[in-house]
Symmetry: C2
Subunit: 221 residues, 2 copies
Amino acid sequence: MAENIVQGLRDKIENGIVTGLFAPGERLDEVQLAKRFGVSRTPIREVLMQLSAIGLIEIRPRRGAVVVEPGPQRIYEMFEVMAELEGMAGALAARRHTEEDRADLLAAHDKCQQSSNSGDTDAYYYDNELFHGAIYLAGHSAFLAEQCTTLHRRLRPYRRLQLRVRNRMKTSFSEHTGIVEAILAGDAEAARALLRSHIAVQGDRFGDLVSTLAKREARTA
Amino acid sequence: MAENIVQGLRDKIENGIVTGLFAPGERLDEVQLAKRFGVSRTPIREVLMQLSAIGLIEIRPRRGAVVVEPGPQRIYEMFEVMAELEGMAGALAARRHTEEDRADLLAAHDKCQQSSNSGDTDAYYYDNELFHGAIYLAGHSAFLAEQCTTLHRRLRPYRRLQLRVRNRMKTSFSEHTGIVEAILAGDAEAARALLRSHIAVQGDRFGDLVSTLAKREARTA
DNA sequence: GTCAAACATATTGTATGCAAGAACGATTAT
DNA sequence: ATAATCGTTCTTGCATACAATATGTTTGAC
């Protein structure tokens, strides 16, 4: 075999959960997954253990693994924490960014502008991830970057839904511009505040999120 | 068999790492651990996978698992993030605490006062954990509470070292008093700022931490 | 007719066995 | 004598087999 079956499986299953291939609430049968991926139950079990440790699935003793369905309350809380962490990354980036970081950040921002103009939400979603990644790097805190990336992954499906909301992509991009300015100007607190409100699910946006969730719920039911 | 060997093993090994029974850098041999705990390699492997997912150990393909040694840089970063999350919890607690939370927080604070006066750093460490736990609860964000608790656990050995520094326990307790006042007064930003500087490893304290780490390093070498 | 208990089946949890790769040592050649 | 290469051994990685429990169905009794 190659080298690390488990690593590959982990990414596949995790992506399957995050993209909705495995719906929330769905029971993950070990032998089914094993057959599906052409491996034995052992690596499957190890992957499930890892995902359980991250909190993506829940393993009830003797009763199997199910994809957790984070209710609106919990999703809101996750965005809340994410907003704070991103704000922190922005503040650090404003204080610590180097010339190289500056160039990378501007390049990522340019890419966002292009995909935003093209109207391709999927492309924008990808470039948006790169943009935020550039901010993490500019913050020069490897640990913070890891935490942010992990949370970003877990929130991926919901962030994707948000972009579909009317005009959200344009608004998002214009917010980016302010964030870049604050970071490059070295204004830590401005960068923090702007990133916080960029991420946070406030006011109307929470209603949008919940209703979109409800729709998706109805579709899978 | 009982019910969940893996859960028990996970706690034991995790605690072993956190308390230093398994030293950083040490190689964790599967068969040795299996013999030690009287089980087969399978549950041991699953535990190691979980710990690897949390980041407590590192599994290098075909080369076994080693306890990760987070360098001073990384430990500093972890405290930095922790400070921000705790600050956030404090701000939320200031805004959202109920009458019940108020009572719990004051009770936890009282216990800290007692153990602080007794001079027992271990007792204070425990009560301190309860105190911070009460703040998480008062913040009414289950997700944030989980994140904080996880980080708290990972930083446990270093926090313990800090308390041994001269007068740190008294200083810590007096800081608690200010935090409690800010939270109960509903002053979110004050609570945030106080908790941030309560946790953060700033100025002299970073030097203290590094030198204490170096000493421990020399002892295990 | 309905409810409860017992048995059967399916699925999880643990152990063991087999294969492949990495580390360490020995032997040989320069 | 030293270094390099080949081989052996130890350990990880995956698969399969066995044991234990939970769930569902069927049958019997009230």
